[in-house]
Amino acid sequence: MNYDIVVPPTADGSAEVTLVSWIKEVGSPVKKGEDLAEATTEKITLYVTAPADGTLHEINVPVGEKVRVGQVIGVMVG
């Protein structure tokens, strides 16, 4: 089953954040809740975490790009 990896909706809904790192690589096994990526505004770091146990299958957004809260930035296979 595929699971979307989504920027968490903890910031203001309109906020744009910058993806600053992918903590896991494509193909890495991950457990539900593990950190996958970090996104940041000027003073807030948001952790994007794994929605399920599985493998990081696809990274859609490279480091350095702006993303929106709620945006899908990758796919996991569980």
Partner: protein
């Protein structure tokens, strides 16, 4: 306490908090001298040479809060609320600004009038910054928080572009009031303001007590 072991403790408490093994927890600490660089920061904002930093005994660390470079040292109170944003009914941006409000309220009890500055997060007195904010959020739980310059030696700020801004003025309670303020006095007033702001019922616990919970559950 040095920054790295202090932050390791914060991460362990966060893990325990996320598993509901600990209630909302607010960590108060003072660090030994260190420049920390947040996720949007760069070492190019350090103006001193590595030799000079070594001579002064100032460490440099890259850390996972938002923001650029800042200085921490003895006499600066660092406050890290580990709260669940759903519990306080705020999103991350609102929470960040609420922390600034906490600082403004706290400083007003000392007769110091401070304000927020658009596009420059933190708390300001005249044109100088007295308190800094920078948070991280994981699964809706917050960590990092804010720092307040109480009796901090401000000289090391001259060795960096604080928050990536050159010529930024930094001040402290000591500098404004002209005398030292006991950190315990700050903590007592802060306790009251945090209770009111976040509707918490709080009691002071030592690190030893927290450690017992962490060890007992192998958190």
């Amino acid at each position: 306490m040095p920054y790295e072991p202090a932050f390791a403790i914060q991460e362990r408490i966060l893990e325990a908090r996320m598993r509901d093994r600990l209630p909302s927890t607010i960590i108060l600490q003072e660090n030994s001298s260190v420049f920390t660089i947040g996720r949007t920061g760069s070492r190019s904002n350090i103006l001193a040479s590595a030799d000079e930093l070594q001579r002064l005994g100032i460490e440099v660390l890259e850390v996972n809060r938002g923001g650029d470079i800042t200085y921490h040292g003895p006499g600066q109170l660092i406050v890290s609320p580990l709260l669940y944003l759903g519990d306080v009914d705020l999103n991350a941006n609102q929470y960040l600004h609420r922390l600034e409000d906490v600082l403004i309220d706290l400083l007003s009890t000392f007769g110091i009038r401070t304000y927020k500055k658009k596009d420059y997060p933190g708390v300001w007195w005249n044109q100088a910054k007295i308190g800094a904010v920078g948070i991280a959020v994981k699964h809706g739980y917050t960590f990092h928080g804010f720092s307040l310059n109480v009796n901090l030696d401000l000289a090391p700020f001259n060795l960096i572009n604080p928050c990536g801004v050159s010529q930024m003025l930094i001040t402290s309670l000591h500098q404004i009031l002209g005398h030292e303020i006991p950190i315990t006095e700050i903590k007592e007033k802060l306790h009251e303001i945090l209770v009111e702001t976040f509707s918490l019922s709080m009691r002071d616990v030592s690190y030893k007590e927290v450690q017992e919970v962490l060890v007992s559950g192998n958190a």
